[in-house]
Structure formats: structure tokens, C-alpha cells
């Protein structure tokens, strides 16, 4: 039976990688006659010198054809007597690094092209690094344009050695260097007369036979649960793909994170009953007793899997906006998604040289090592041990973009060293003694919108009613707790995080906490809401910018307009309006008393 090889091609526009694959498909008669016709037609209309342009087989999008470059991953399918192939053709430019990573994460092997006239260049190193990072362990180094260097053996050897030195430490299992000419066709599908000194295989025959299968004989069983199937009260099956090892009916497994064990009662592969399931199969597992398992849990026999809430990962940043310390994202590992915060950036990794560089933030297409703290325990392994439980993506909570892809390096022990101290006097006790329900009233709005005035007046009313309160105000907190923070984005994120934590502690103490901060970013307010929980009430003071600027109580807008204050919210830094605040109030033309009445009326609904 035929198996499947997924590979990726990397190289720059001029290295001729689309031409190489196009030529391979053409020579091996692996394309359909009408595509062949279209190819000749296209190349007469579109391109260079009227000969067949094999690269047109692969460059699909109109924009790409016009620009003559490859901007996104294109997948091609072909098969020979020996094997089925999927090839991902990827862009080479540094600005499309993320697209290349997409292709690399999908593949088992990479064909990296080097121009024989140029040798191993910065880009070659970058491509090899990304491939290795995304888990590729087998590389074909296609030294192209051998015709332009007179099929010189010495040149080929020089490039081969250079690459092997470059890729030292990448954890590669095999590197096969092949001298080729994509335009002429040397060593593409068959051995070339022009390189009699080369005793290795041509490209296609090599791809047909290279062994890339992962998984060792005695590896431990791992299955991340995708869903629980309960068609009726007698059947409870855990569905997912086996990511490592195998298991048989009667074997015992451990469910993570609960660490309960049970024996396998029955197995299905798709809709077929089976005695055993193994790596790569779509399984449904029934256990012999009730265990606490839902989507995101893992059934396993492995003992290397971690269950903790702090880890270190290497991320490839993919978002248009920068990576900022303190920001909160949704982290997906295996089948589990949960909130996580970038606690600190350890260093950037120069994608070309591999050097570690210290940095405060990271931008699109950069590699960065950082510590991530999760909102609850995550089940994971290192990427080296397990691609399925060691790879992650970070999703932006507001735009829903995939902001980063990452690999987990190791867990941080700190997570297990600090344990939340369960106190004997509980939050409920403290609240009962004060005969009130703790709340956090989170006032957000532009500078000058009337937040602080309103918060102050609301606190007075609450105090008059005998409620125990505490007001946290922007300026006051910045004098003490947060005086080491400025107004850059990462500082603002940290400012809000600390305030949310303090508000939460005060709620624990049984207090009604009022916070009055601009808190301009939706993602930060969302983290605050999550951290504080059901005590959080968002009050959006929606007085428009023109009115705030007209009031300009502290003269700040004037300074911001003249450029004396950088990063001023509303002027030179964005304010993201809340999507679903519990209360919204515009103080333009509204007397203070009336505004307070309005807010109080709504607060009281949550108070009792």
C-alpha cells in the first residue's frame, strides 16, 4: 500500500523553486493535458521569453502572477507508483516568513533550494531554522543552477559542507544534497550525464524512497480528547486522534488533568469496532468506569506530560501589531483553549543568525522566547517530545487573529512552588460581616470624560448607605503601587493588570471597589473581567472626545495636541470602546446628580 509524503519547498524567487517542482511534475508526466495546454498559453501571454515557464503551474493567485512572486502557500498533489505526495510551495521573502511557517508545520521534509552561483546565504539559514523550529527533521538541499557553474563538483561540495555547518544543532535526522538544474532538468527525475561525479539519487527517486515516519515502537499512548459522544445513557465515548503510541482493549489509561485511571472497555476506529488503535487513527474510546473527562483532556499512558500553569515557549510572532509583555491571549494546545498572559520576553532570536538579542517587544515575523502564564492548568509536553502537545497558537481576543505560533520548551516550576493559600476566614465570611455583596465597579472612558468625578460621587452615595468601599483612582495609584510604570503600551497593560489584581483582593476582603482608569484596551478589560469574575461591573463613561477635549480640566489635551505628551489616549493612542458594558453613561449636558442617580439605579440591581 502506498503511503504519503508531505514536503515543502523553500527558496527565494530567483532560486527557481516553482520551476523545479513544475519541471518535476512535467517530466514525470504528472500533470493533466489541459493544465499543460493552459501552461503553454499562460506563459506565452504572461512571461519571460515565450518558453514554457514551469513555475506558472504553481503560482496560482492573480496578484502573484502579476508580481511574479509567490505570496502564499500553494499545495500540489501528485503520485507515482511508489508514493503519494503533497507539496507545499512557500514564499521565500522575509516578510512572508509566517506563510512559510504554515507550510513547514504541515510537512515531514523540506527541499531547500540554493543557487549554486550564490551559495548558502542568509535566507538559506533562515529557511532551515524555520523548518527545524516547526518540526521538520529531514532536508534535501537542492543546489540549483549547476549548469551556470559548469557542473563543478568542488562548488557543490563547498555548499554542502557550508549547509551542514549552518544546520548544526537543528536536530535534523537527515540532509541529502543534490546537484540540480531546474530549467535544464539535471537530476530532477533521473540521473544527469552532466554530473557523473555525483553518486547519490536524483530528486524524485529520493523523495519516493526517503523514510520520514515518526514514532518509535514503544512510545507511550497519547490522545487529546476532541469531544465526548453521548448518544444515549449507555454509551460515553471519548473521541480524538491518537497522537502517539497505541492502546488495546483492556489496557489502562490515565485521564489528565484528573489523573484518574481506568481500563479501555471498547474501541472504535471511525465506525468500526477494533481491538487496538494506534498513532494517526481517528478513535472513539469507552472506559470501564466513570472518569472526569471533557474536551481538552488527554488520555495517556505517558509520564512525560506536564500539568501546570507556567511555561516557556519560543514564538513566531505573526500579528501586524507587536507582542507586548503583559498582554493576554487565548492559547490553544492540542484540543484545549484557555487564556494566557505573556509574562516576560526573555530574548529575541535573530531569525537569520540564531543569536539571542534582548528585547522589550517583538514584531511580525520575529522569533521570541517568553514565559507564559495560563489562567488554569494546561496539559502539555515539550515540542521535542510531542508535536501534538508541544505546539501552540496564540489568538487575539479581540480581532480573533492567529497572533503567534509557538513551540513549548519547558514548564516553569514556579507554578508548583506558589500555592494559593486557602484562608480559614473566607471571602463570604468577610462580606457577611459587612452585610454586603462585594463588587468591582470598573469605570472606563477617555481622560476628562467624568469618570473620576462620577466614581467619587457614587462612592459617597454608597458610603452614605453604609457600604464599605474603596476607590482606586488612576493618578493616585500611579503615585505609589505603579510609580515604576510609564505610558507605553506594555506599561498600560501592566498598570491595568495590577489594578485588576488589587480590586480582586479588595473584593476578597469584602469591599465594594471602584476603579477609575482610562483602561483603553478591550483585551485588558476583558482580562480584568476574567480575573475578577462575576463581581466585575463595567461602567463605560462614553462622553465623546470633542466634549472631553472642550472640558480639558487638566490641560492635557492641549499638551497632547502640541505634541508635549506622547501616547495620549484619544489623540495619539487608541481608545477601544467597550462592546458590552453593563452600564453606559454619557455625561455631556447631564448634571452630576442626575448621572449618579442613573448609575446608582443600575448598580442596585447587582447589589442585592
Amino acid at each position: 500500500m502506498k503511503d504519503l509524503l508531505k514536503f515543502i519547498t523553500c527558496g527565494s524567487v530567483d532560486d527557481g523553486k516553482s520551476t523545479l517542482i513544475g519541471h518535476m511534475l512535467y517530466d514525470a508526466k504528472l500533470i493533466f493535458a489541459d493544465q499543460e495546454k493552459a501552461l503553454e498559453l499562460d506563459s506565452r501571454v504572461g512571461s519571460r521569453e515565450g518558453e514554457i515557464d514551469y513555475s506558472l503551474l504553481l503560482d496560482g493567485l492573480m496578484a502573484e502572477r502579476e508580481q511574479g512572486i509567490t505570496i502564499d502557500v500553494a499545495y500540489r498533489y501528485f503520485n507515482t507508483r511508489q508514493r503519494s505526495f503533497i507539496v507545499a510551495d512557500t514564499p521565500g521573502h522575509e516578510e512572508y516568513t509566517r506563510n512559510m511557517a504554515v507550510g513547514a508545520s504541515f510537512a515531514d521534509l523540506a527541499v531547500i533550494l540554493v543557487d549554486a552561483t550564490k551559495g548558502v546565504i542568509t535566507q538559506t539559514k533562515r529557511h532551515a531554522r524555520i523548518c527545524a523550529l516547526m518540526g521538520i527533521r529531514h532536508i534535501v538541499l537542492a543546489v540549483n543552477k549547476m549548469d551556470l557553474v559548469g557542473y563543478d563538483k568542488e562548488r557543490f561540495e563547498e555548499i554542502r559542507k557550508d549547509f551542514i555547518q549552518t544546520s548544526y544543532g537543528f536536530g535534523l535526522e537527515s540532509v541529502q544534497a543534490i546537484p540540480v538544474s531546474a530549467t535544464v532538468g539535471d537530476n530532477v527525475t533521473g540521473k544527469s550525464e552532466n554530473t557523473l561525479w555525483y553518486d547519490g539519487p536524483a530528486l524524485l527517486p529520493y523523495l519516493e524512497t526517503v523514510e520520514t515516519a515518526r514514532g518509535e515502537k514503544d512510545e507511550a499512548f497519547v490522545l487529546p480528547v476532541q469531544r465526548v459522544s453521548r448518544p444515549n445513557h449507555t454509551f460515553r465515548g471519548f473521541q480524538g486522534q491518537v497522537e502517539a503510541g497505541s492502546i488495546r482493549v483492556g489496557d489502562s489509561v490515565t485521564a489528565l488533568p484528573s489523573r484518574e485511571t481506568a481500563k479501555v472497555k471498547s474501541l472504535l476506529i471511525g465506525d468500526r469496532e477494533a481491538e487496538a488503535v494506534s498513532r494517526g487513527q481517528a478513535a472513539t474510546i469507552q472506559l470501564d468506569r466513570e472518569v472526569d473527562v471533557s474536551r481538552g483532556c488527554v488520555l495517556t499512558a505517558s509520564d512525560s506530560i506536564e500539568v501546570t500553569d507556567m511555561l516557556t515557549a519560543t514564538l513566531l510572532w505573526m500579528d501586524d501589531g507587536p507582542l507586548v509583555e503583559g498582554r493576554n491571549y487565548l492559547v490553544k494546545v492540542g484540543t484545549k483553549t484557555l487564556p494566557g498572559t505573556i509574562m516576560s520576553i526573555k530574548h529575541k532570536i535573530d531569525i537569520n543568525s540564531g543569536d539571542e538579542v534582548s528585547a522589550g517587544r517583538a514584531y511580525k515575523n520575529e522569533l521570541v522566547a517568553c514565559d507564559i502564564s495560563l489562567s488554569e492548568d494546561l496539559i502539555f509536553d515539550t515540542f521535542e517530545n510531542s508535536e501534538a502537545l508541544g505546539g501552540m497558537i496564540l489568538m487575539d481576543r479581540v480581532s480573533n487573529a492567529t497572533s503567534a505560533a509557538g513551540i513549548i520548551n519547558h514548564s516553569l516550576r514556579r507554578a508548583t512552588n506558589v500555592i494559593w493559600e486557602e484562608t480559614a476566614v473566607t471571602k463570604e465570611h468577610r462580606a457577611n460581616m459587612k452585610a454586603q455583596k462585594p463588587l468591582t465597579l470598573w469605570f472606563t472612558g477617555l481622560s476628562g470624560s467624568g469618570k473620576s468625578t462620577l466614581a467619587n460621587a457614587v462612592e459617597q452615595r454608597l458610603a452614605a448607605m453604609g457600604r464599605h468601599t474603596m476607590l482606586l483612582d488612576g493618578d493616585n495609584v500611579r503615585h505609589g503601587l505603579n510609580r515604576n510604570l510609564g505610558f507605553r503600551e506594555e506599561d498600560r497593560v501592566e498598570n491595568i493588570r495590577r489594578i485588576a489584581e488589587v480590586a480582586k483582593l479588595m473584593n476578597e476582603a469584602g469591599l465594594v471597589t471602584l476603579t477609575s482608569f482610562i483602561s483603553p484596551y478591550e483585551s485588558d478589560r476583558r482580562s480584568a473581567r476574567e480575573s475578577i469574575g462575576r463581581e466585575y461591573l463595567e461602567i463605560y463613561v462614553s462622553t465623546p472626545l470633542e466634549e472631553c477635549e472642550r472640558r480639558d480640566v487638566k490641560g492635557l489635551y492641549k499638551k497632547a495636541r502640541s505634541g508635549d505628551i506622547p501616547n495620549f489616549t484619544g489623540i495619539s493612542s487608541p481608545y477601544e470602546a467597550p462592546e458590552n458594558p453593563e452600564i453606559e453613561i454619557d455625561t455631556t449636558d447631564m448634571p452630576l446628580d442626575e448621572a449618579v442617580d442613573k448609575v446608582m439605579k443600575q448598580i442596585m440591581i447587582y447589589m442585592d
Partner: protein, 299 residues
């Protein structure tokens, strides 16, 4: 350790994708076009959730010009399998008398593209499975498995979300939706081999049989009912033909063939000299026509 064949691997991948959508999306639907790819996708959905039925409905966008045998097949399969089949017809189009003879590409737009958008909006589906494969056409070759559509159902090929490993990002904002292609990595040949391996039921039109046809612009068109307009110089003849793809009968070209078993079809397909989309008339208009259509919301 079981060594998976490439069909096993494709099957596992598709089932994984289908389960992810069921687990993460609020209101998914599986588009069902009655063709062979839809039959394979339906089969995979049944496998993915067994012994449960698929936890989502199926949607057929009917242009009212489908082959009669397709509609019979659809109704029979839905009945046999006990799945929920929703049919949507663009009634405005029907009332305006839109037809494939007079309205050309406007017909496809109104009865397929617009009709699909209507159905997706009406039911508020946030994810729709489609049977598209990357080997069908060059712009499809670059589309992600989870492909995002804005409020107007448009695709932005230059701004696709990165898709890493199997970590699909299924998060969308209100009004946006996803098209999900579990068969992305399958080829036409894989589809046929899988149909044979799994003994999947397909519409009889795929098998060669004597059928009444006319020849038009180099295509063999079947005269499926009396709405078919016949030109003065055209003549209905009985020929042994079969179809490689199924759609609206006046727009679907058949091929002359004696292949009336799966093995014979596969043999013909393996030695095929034409890739399958050339038998769909819309694709020949110009280079890039499919990409343009997809940006406008065509599946």
C-alpha cells in the same frame, strides 16, 4: 504500529477537522451538493460521530436545474440515514425566471452564490463544510482548510489566517463565518479510490449509460427534461455517456464512455487527459475566473 496508507491518513485528517468544527462552532452545517465529493464528506461525517448521528444539518442549495436523478438520490439518502436535509431555493430568482440559457454567469451568481448566502444568513450558520479540494483549481490550491468570510461572505486571499499544525483557529467576530474544507488534501483519484474502498453510494449519473444528449460548443449536454432548449441545428441522440462532475444539467458536460463499474471509472480517471473542472462550463471563461468568483462568495 499500524502503517497508515495515504487514504487512511486523509480519512483521519478529515475526521479530525469535522470533529473540531462540531466541538468549537456554535451552529455548523454541511453543504451537500449530491456529487461524489459530498457523498464522501457525508460518509466521513457519519464515521466521525458514530454511533451518534452527525450533530449538524445538511444543506442543499437547489438551483432547480439539477439532474432529476440527483434530487431522487438526495431524498433517498437523507431518508435512509435519518439525517436532517435542508433544501434552499432562491425564490426571487425563480420568480424572475432566471435560467441557465438566457442569463449566463448571472444565473450562477443568482441561483448558486446569492442563494447560498441567503441560506447561510437565514439559518445563522457560523461554519459551513464544503467538499472543495485543492487540486481542483489554482486559486483553491492556496486556500486554507478553515477559510474565513466577512459579513458579505467574501474571501480575502491576501489576508488568510496562518494555519499551524492541527491547531485550527475557529474564532470569528459576529456576522463573519467560515467555510471548512475537510477534503482539501484529497485528489480526484483519492475520492474514487475511497468510494471503492468504502463502497460509498453515489448518483448513478457517474456510471456510463445510454442517455439522450446533444452536442453544444464541444460539450455533451444531457436533455434531462423538456425545459432544455434545443437549437435548430442541434439533434438529440442517444449516447453512452457518464459525468465526472454533477451540477445543473444544461451546464454540465458529459463524456462518452463505456465505464459502468467503479473499477472502470477509476481506470479511466487514472489515464485521464483532462482535469475534471474543464467539464464545468463556468471555469473556461478566463484565467482567474474561479478566484474572482470566490472573492464574491461562491463556494
Amino acid at each position: 504500529m499500524a502503517n497508515l496508507t495515504h487514504l487512511d491518513q486523509l480519512e483521519s485528517e478529515a475526521i479530525y477537522i469535522i470533529r473540531e468544527v462540531a466541538a468549537e462552532c456554535e451552529n455548523p452545517v454541511m453543504l451537500y451538493s449530491i456529487g461524489k465529493d459530498s457523498s464522501v464528506m457525508l460518509h466521513l461525517a457519519l464515521k466521525a460521530f458514530y454511533p451518534e448521528k452527525p450533530p449538524f444539518p445538511f444543506l442543499h442549495v437547489n438551483t432547480t436545474w439539477k439532474f432529476r436523478e440527483m434530487i431522487d438520490f438526495r431524498d433517498r439518502r437523507a431518508r435512509e440515514l435519518g439525517i436532517r436535509m435542508i433544501e434552499h431555493i432562491n425564490q426571487e430568482g425563480v420568480e424572475a425566471g432566471i435560467n441557465p440559457f438566457d442569463h449566463g454567469s448571472a444565473y450562477t451568481d443568482i441561483m448558486k452564490t446569492q442563494s447560498l448566502k441567503q441560506a447561510l444568513d437565514a439559518h445563522g450558520f457560523d461554519a459551513a463544510f464544503g467538499g472543495g479540494r485543492r487540486d481542483e483549481e489554482k486559486s483553491r490550491a492556496k486556500e486554507r482548510v478553515f477559510s474565513f468570510r466577512n459579513k458579505n461572505h467574501a474571501w480575502d486571499p491576501k489576508n488568510q489566517k496562518p494555519e499551524m499544525w492541527k491547531l485550527y483557529n475557529t474564532r470569528i467576530s459576529r456576522g463573519e463565518s467560515m467555510r471548512v474544507f475537510p477534503l482539501s488534501n484529497w485528489t480526484e483519484k483519492d475520492i474514487w479510490q475511497y468510494i471503492r474502498r468504502e463502497q460509498i453510494d453515489i448518483v448513478p449519473l457517474y456510471f456510463a449509460k445510454e442517455r439522450p444528449v446533444i452536442e453544444r460548443d464541444g460539450n455533451i449536454i444531457m436533455v434531462d427534461d423538456d425545459r432544455m432548449r434545443i437549437g435548430r441545428d442541434e439533434e438529440i441522440v442517444n449516447k453512452k455517456v457518464r459525468f465526472r462532475t454533477l451540477g445543473c444539467y444544461p451546464l454540465t458536460g458529459g463524456i462518452e464512455s463505456d465505464a459502468d463499474t467503479l473499477d472502470e471509472i477509476i481506470d479511466e480517471t487514472l489515464g485521464a487527459v483532462s482535469s475534471e473542472r474543464t467539464s464545468r462550463v463556468i471555469d473556461q471563461e478566463s484565467t482567474g475566473s474561479m478566484e474572482r468568483r470566490k472573492r464574491e462568495g461562491y463556494f
